[in-house]
């Protein structure tokens, strides 16, 4: 079965640094998502992306966050100036259309020190 892949699996960064988390969604999918999960807490929606633009974002997704699909295969989440509270697992997901299931990547563990 096709898979969503994410790199890196673990990223450690210092507070105030910029990080870019990378995802390669399944190739024929049209909808892309980022979620995050702080340790011990629920999975939270960050942003959805369709037709090369953001279709919805949560209150978590403030001006420090941005997403891009630069080349038709990668889907990136950038955090401009990381804070300690950004430490979490970040999951990318994609789906071919609606209503269909979402496919989740394995996640990137971001640790901000």
């Amino acid at each position: 079965e096709p898979e969503v892949t994410q790199t890196p699996s673990h990223q450690v960064t210092q507070m105030g640094q910029e990080v870019i988390l990378r995802c390669v969604p399944i190739s024929n999918h049209l909808y892309f998502y980022w979620y995050r999960q702080i340790l011990g807490q629920k999975v939270e929606f960050l942003v959805s992306f369709y037709n090369n633009e953001i279709s919805e974002k949560s209150e978590i997704f403030d001006d420090q966050f941005s997403v891009e699909r630069p080349d038709g295969s990668n889907f990136t989440l950038k955090i401009r100036s990381t804070k300690l509270e950004d430490s979490a697992m970040y999951f990318c997901a994609s789906r071919p259309g609606t209503p269909t299931r979402e496919y989740f990547g394995p996640g990137t563990r971001l640790t901000v020190t």
Binding site: Y35, E56, P99, R101, P106, G107
Partner: protein, 112 residues
């Protein structure tokens, strides 16, 4: 804000026992999905229920979607130690948002 409440949050049982996990909301969902998540990994889809009243079976796991499509349950028969993990329900509104709302999860521990 749509909320999905899962209960119980934690469950520790002996191998061979039965258990039920509940997922409740005041919102109507077009579909509801159940996931299992291992530590440090992404959620893995177990089942999607779409029709009100629908029941789906996956070996010893039985999933039910409420008639009003606001709630769901997961029943495990004769639990095994391999069932240990975090179980998540997630609702899909199929609106312009097109993203999932996750419940807080139920952490299941099956003791040998």
């Amino acid at each position: 804000t749509q909320l999905l409440e899962q209960s119980p949050q934690f469950l520790s049982i002996q191998e061979g026992e039965n258990l039920t996990v509940y997922c409740n909301s005041s919102s109507v969902f077009s579909s509801l999905q159940w996931y299992r998540q291992e530590p440090g990994e992404g959620p893995v889809l177990l089942v999607t229920v779409v029709t009100g009243g629908e029941v789906k079976k996956l070996k010893r796991l039985t999933f039910q979607f409420g008639d009003a499509r606001k709630d769901s349950s997961l029943h495990i028969t004769a639990a095994q130690t391999g069932d240990t993990g975090l179980y998540l329900c997630a609702g899909d509104r199929d609106t312009g948002r097109r993203a999932l709302t996750f419940g807080s999860g139920t952490r299941l521990q099956v003791q040998p």
